[in-house]
Symmetry: C2
Subunit: 247 residues, 2 copies
């Protein structure tokens, strides 16, 4: 199977995603109820966490690692429709079948809940339902931004947008000073980036090279990126960049 090794169960109050995951709004006494039904599972990099069309018997949160949500057409064309980072929620309460493939792109640890108990718990714990609504609305916003990228941006803009998304996300997780150059690692292969952006892997490679030649980014190895001027990157991404800085 895809499962690697049973992890040590962590106390919720020590959990690294305690304040961002679906349980973020829970009171200590509510956490106790979640503790009772939770269990950890780990997946190897590259393994499938969920198969589209399969029965879903659990929902859960990504605790560590990165996973992707993808859709595939009969002839093999695939489109990524979600990039799951620590604290992101997997699965849909109230539905039995999985709609998308979920794949671990690094080793992944999940905090899982059997679906039925989670659903009943959600019904008597508004803090969970409320947080899930909030997270789902955020995901919907992200999906709509993504739709603009897929429908209207050029290959170069797509790459620049992706880099800025990763950079921003990395900065918010690691709380590095955004002073000066941004530095981060690409969490995806060229092929996975292509599936994210609706491009081919060749075009991804070419546009990354082009941005490097033009001095928008610097590369060390294949994955390690330095952004000397973030505003320049945002310009390349075609995003509204006048974000109310001054009055």
């Amino acid at each position: 199977m895809t499962q690697v090794a049973p992890s040590v169960t962590v106390d919720c109050s020590d959990c690294p995603i305690r304040h961002r995951a679906v349980c973020a709004r829970c009171e200590p006494e509510e956490l106790v109820n979640l503790e009772e039904i939770k269990y950890y599972r780990t997946y190897q990099s590259g393994s499938r966490i969920i198969w589209a069309g399969d029965r879903m018997d659990f929902v859960g949160s990504v605790v560590s690692g990165i996973a992707t949500l993808t859709q595939t057409m009969e002839d093999g064309r695939t489109q990524m429709v979600g990039l799951l980072l620590p604290s992101d929620f997997v699965g849909r309460p109230g539905r039995n079948g999985a709609e998308y493939d979920v794949t671990a792109t690094t080793d992944v640890t999940m905090c899982c809940f059997r679906k039925k108990p989670f659903e009943t718990l959600m019904e008597r714990t508004p803090h969970i339902a409320h947080r899930l609504l909030e997270m789902t609305l955020d995901e919907l916003d992200a999906a709509r931004e993504w739709m603009l990228l897929l429908g209207r941006k050029t290959a170069r803009e797509k790459i620049a947008s992706f880099l800025s998304i990763i950079a921003r996300r990395d900065a918010s997780l690691n709380l590095r000073p955004t002073k000066g150059a941004l530095v981060f690692d690409l969490p995806l292969t060229r092929e996975a980036m292509a599936d994210y952006l609706g491009l081919t892997l060749e075009t991804v490679s070419r546009q990354i090279s082009a941005l490097r030649k033009d001095g928008v980014i610097e590369l060390e190895g294949k994955r390690h990126v330095t952004v000397p001027d973030f505003d320049r990157l945002l310009e390349e991404a075609g995003d509204d960049n006048d974000g109310g800085m001054l009055a």
Copy 2:
């Protein structure tokens, strides 16, 4: 202003979207609370209901008519990110600013709630919060299907997909017998379809002509469509079509 004429207030129990909108799960006594804070507004075809970036002072449901959610880049490229039909919800509780432009593409009647009272009512009415979560999850699924279309489908497949979406939606609203040929009207101009599909209006026009020449659809005027063979249309759309018919 964009507002047309004050509509007569309708009793919730007589409302055409009573069982599909955000109030669908409410008990009669809960409806009373909604009645107290609701008001109707109507908008002329073509008028802007909400401007991206503006303060949102209300949320609400589309009662009749069709509206679009769009995003526009600085240079004018626009991408539709939502198509709002009767019963669809507009606005996001817990956020003050609007993220997208909302435009009426036909005359539209909205059932509105001032945001603050709605939020407090939602807190003590789990039926509303639960229904809103359900609707948001549905929208997220639709957005992800849309992302596959934008990222990976050809122009011809995009048109065929759009037609099948409209056909299906029309069938579910009007409850016509799906027996034999499907007949419906396109709710959007060629340009709006282009913004939906991430194409130019010329390409939309060309592909519609091509599908007509190939007998996949028949056209009467610019908007009235007949689909003689729905399975054929689904093939053209590139969608998984083997939807578990037999064992």
